[in-house]
Amino acid sequence: MQKIILAKTGNEAMALAMKQVNPDVVAAYPITPATEIVQIFSQYVADGEVKTEFVAVESEHSAMSACIGSCAAGARTMTGTSSQGLALMYEMIYIAAGLRLPIVMADVNRALSAPINIHCDHSDSMGCRDAGWVHIFSENAQEAYDSMIQAVRIAEHKDVRLPVMVTTDGFIISHGMERIDTLPDAEVQNFIGKYDPLMHLLDVKKPFTIGAINLTDYYFEHRRAMVDAQNNSLKVIKEVGAEFGKKFDTGYGLIEKYQLDDAEVAIVALGSTCGTAKVVIDQLRAKGVKAGLLKIRVFRPFPTEEIAKALENIKTVAVLDRSDSVGGFGGPVFTEIRSALYGSAKRPQIAGFVYGLGGREIDMEQIEGLFMDLKAGKVKADSVSYLGVRE
């Protein structure tokens, strides 16, 4: 199969993936820096390049509400948003997962107000981390494209049936032009297959009620079933990622280890920062510094065991969080990893670093400095620091 090489920004890549998925319904609302996804997709609709019914809703709350209605009606449904838009959707984010609707959403990670800011950090999507969605981060436009396609399979898998959120980093990925390998439309269609819901609202001969009130006697069981679905998705995400790799050469897992197995010092990161870290690691390795990276691709479900295993032989690990849990002990990635490591007999020393809030740049020198501090034993274990902020 011949891949088609294109120059695309992250937003263009995600919009293209959506076009090739060719969903039955897209309901969306514009917001910086995700607007382009909606805009480009609208053009596909206007040009008759997709079969999609596009609903240009009046708010993100209605976007997710319409997606919920659409998906429950048996339509393959997608949307995209960012930041305040995701925050406005928040109520419906929980409901989409609770109703077990396999909606696929592109979220372009952007800081939350206040102060208002349009640039990247992960606080928007991290705010939804307990909602029940599968939550996939992208290092670059290529991953965003590939994950959007895989997301459909993951969401609709009979053992999962949960919504999936694929994120990019606002402006860094969303607006950065990259060379990406894309697939022919037919290959995407073959890969995702047909959406075959267990039941749907338009099957009028088999009426059913979705969204019923659950009191003390049933609510807990339904929420517990959602936990099982999340756990099941660990296997499904790996299977889908492996199948994608088998067919299209680039496989995907829950995490990615980069120069990690023999590393003495390592960082853990999500999203675009991983790309920067890889370059730094190559340079440090050339100088004989055994530096490594653990990239977390899938934050929900959290790959606890894989992460604990991947880090067990490292001496010191710095966990980078591009969002904060204000008033908590470290950002969400740090607390999850620290918890994942607690049960390991062999575990590294670990420190948390909150960085890059509101799009504050993280450069190679900072990452290199961090590695050198780790190596020199200058990083205090079980501490949380703020990187790149004027204190």
Binding site: S62, G69, L202, V204
Partner: protein, 307 residues
């Protein structure tokens, strides 16, 4: 229009066994709307509120039609998603039936928190009928005032007190706001006039495009009256001109009922606990204000209807 005999022969799609109060008007709205829909397949959504909680206590449901509830403020947005799915799948040939889409919301979910979603859905032109069962307060949460609550009404958040005699403000005229959207069909109906409501639901569903019906729905708990008076109080609201029955079809206003003699508003108000405090002589001016407002609104409406 289907006659009473025909309606009675149709099986209920909103079935008994739900947990609504004795004398509940909301369940009458749901039952009559689905009876009016007849054999036409419908998909229904409902905003969080009385109607939803009494009819869908898991694992039971009173809805013998496909039904979705998602949240409070988004009944219109949710059904617009269902309708979009239908458009797409019908176009692709995977859904063959001719399906109609019905959304229910109380006044809280429609006049207040759901107004934006409703306005958006109407502007987008979805093929849907939105029915607001307007009982003039947040009854499900325990009788709090909404923008549909009439002046003078004592609710738990506009209580009659030593200084303030119930709600100060007049109600919002949502029906006119919906008419201003320029949609094909807008109407007011009432619990207690089954033929008016049935006719309007039939018309709205037959017309296609977005339609809105506000149904005044007496609530025995929130209004404070014996349950057997629900239909009677609905009719009295029409006879006092408090709640005129009219429709706006393709922009043209039409009155559906004109009382032979307009009854004074006190006849309606003083059968309800929520207005009881206004019986005191010192509050006569409030009653006068309310009467003046009703008469002025009636005059305006008549002008529109004579155009």
């Amino acid at each position: 229009m289907a006659n009473l005999k025909e309606l009675a022969a149709r099986g209920d799609k909103f079935t008994g066994g739900h947990r609504a109060c004795a004398g509940c008007g909301a369940s009458i709205v749901a039952r009559q709307a689905l009876l009016a829909a007849g054999d036409k397949p419908v998909v229904v959504t409902c905003a969080t509120g009385c109607l939803e909680v009494v009819s869908t206590i898991f694992p039971y449901t009173a809805w013998d039609v496909p039904f979705i509830h998602s949240a409070f403020e988004n009944s219109a947005a949710t059904i617009s998603g269902v309708e979009a799915a239908y458009k797409s799948l019908h176009r692709q040939g995977t859904v063959k039936e001719d399906i109609r889409f019905l959304a229910f919301g109380g006044d809280g979910g429609t006049y207040d928190i759901g107004l934006q979603a409703l306005s958006g859905a109407m502007e987008r032109g979805h093929n849907m009928l939105y029915i607001c069962y307007d009982n003039q307060a947040y009854m499900n949460t325990g009788i709090q005032r909404s923008s549909a609550t009439p002046r003078g009404s004592s609710t738990t958040t506009s209580p009659n007190g030593k200084k303030i005699p119930g709600k100060i403000q007049f109600r919002k005229n949502l029906t006119e706001i919906m008419a201003a959207h320029g949609i094909p069909y807008v109407a007011q109906s009432v619990v207690g006039n089954w033929s008016d409501f049935t006719k309007k639901v039939e018309k709205a569903l037959a017309k296609g495009g977005p339609a809105f019906i506000a149904v005044l729905q007496p609530c025995r708990l929130g209004w404070g009256y014996p349950p057997e008076l629900t239909a009677e109080l609905g009719r009295l609201a029409v006879e006092t001109n408090f709640w005129p029955l009219y429709e706006v079809e393709d922009g043209r206003y039409k009155l559906n009922a004109t009382p032979k003699e307009r009854k004074p508003i006190g006849e309606w108000m003083f059968q309800q606990e929520r207005f009881r405090h206004l019986k005191k002589p010192e509050h006569q001016s409030i009653i006068d204000d309310i009467q003046k407002d009703i008469d002025a609104r009636w005059e305006q409406l008549n002008k529109k209807c004579s155009l």
